[in-house]
Subunit: 196 residues, 2 copies
DNA sequence: GGGGTTCTAGACCGAATGATCTAGTAATTT
DNA sequence: AAATTACTAGATCATTCGGTCTAGAACCCC
């Protein structure tokens, strides 16, 4: 053993996570990360090896502390029939109430979608997230519409995924429209209810 | 008068447009643009003033030669009842058939959404595009569902916008899923048809 | 063909990029 | 307290960034 770190690793990662969330992978510079974490380059490279290493840690943290807790309502047994609605309401409220200058608007991973076009590893991470989102919707939808066919559930899961993706992308462009988009997801569910 | 330019301006702009389309605004470097256009920095700056100037020209070209021709079917009188379906079919086919290494997958403007978080002028451009897309959907939907209320048309226009946005964002991540998403838009229309 | 104008290649600029290195500090263990 | 180990500030690295500049080449008009 030697000298212990002068920082809390989880705090460093979550500070970095917010910067990446705001500016994407390419848009974030080392000085940005130094400023946000309070660490110098030395410590960052000592602890994470590279900018990408810190990004990977930030993504893991994003999935663990932001994404999964939100998805939990969709998949944790017992899944309530209203789970889908709860999820969308929660997401809507987050987009709606976050301050204008908050970095936590939109989605860290979709913010990197463009870079993913030339970074297969990154594309995989984003695709895994997309698949998990769609899968979680499918689970929750089957709790609400137990009689629906698998094909119909898959189709509806994809529709809700679309509205989530669009809502999170638009959150960086036009908050009101992002909120309206997510609300349209809720209204869509109302329509489905009338069919079943 | 003096020496005439040794290039066709429209060719330069469209070459640059494809690079921005592929890599976004921040992800595109001057050397990238020199390579794609065949012009040296001097000529680029002489003709466009700045990287941003060239980007603006590329966006204008994108809207004129890519977006508007596609949207035409949605808004040009007389609007066919099947216009919405035609639009989605065309877009689906483009995403489906473009070679893997084509820069023309996804959307130039949504590829810049992350940068737009700190660039209000860029955010405006993207929002205008989003609004035009939603508006065009609304026009075409009212041709298909003349009896539907304005509120319902607006809601459906937003849903189709979501699927388009998601499809174009996912195009950089997972082509099959992007195609499936756009197809889900078509299936959605089938469902609406049964209601009306 | 000469004068005037415009275009363009390539060198150059300062600033910023991600990354490394050195030196020294600070804590733990014995 | 000494020895050992681990952390970190700051200078430094080569590279790349967007942008400028100079010099000369190419063309139009007279």
């Amino acid at each position: 053993m030697g000298r212990p770190a002068g920082y809390e690793l989880s705090e460093v990662v979550s500070a970095a996570r917010d910067v990446f969330w705001d500016r994407g992978l390419d848009g974030t510079s080392l000085p940005d990360l130094e400023r946000a974490t309070g660490l110098s380059r030395s410590s960052i490279y000592h602890a994470f090896g590279s900018k990408r290493g810190l990004f990977d840690a930030a993504v893991r943290d994003y999935l663990d502390t932001v994404v999964r807790p939100r998805l939990a309502v969709l998949v944790d047994e017992p899944v309530a029939p209203d789970a889908v609605r709860s999820y969308l309401r929660g997401l809507t409220q987050a987009v709606e109430t976050l301050p204008d200058d908050s970095p936590r608007r939109g989605c860290l991973l979709f913010a990197c979608a463009t870079s993913a076009g030339h970074d297969p590893a990154l594309a995989d991470v984003i695709e895994d997230y997309r698949a998990e989102l769609t899968g979680s919707f499918a689970v929750a939808l089957s709790a609400r519409y137990p009689a629906a066919s698998l094909a119909r559930l898959a189709r509806r899961a994809r529709q809700l995924t679309s509205m989530t993706v669009a809502g999170l992308v638009l959150a960086k462009i036009n908050r009101d429209e992002a909120v309206a988009t997510l609300r349209a997801g809720l209204e869509q569910i109302n329509e489905w209810d009338q069919d079943d």
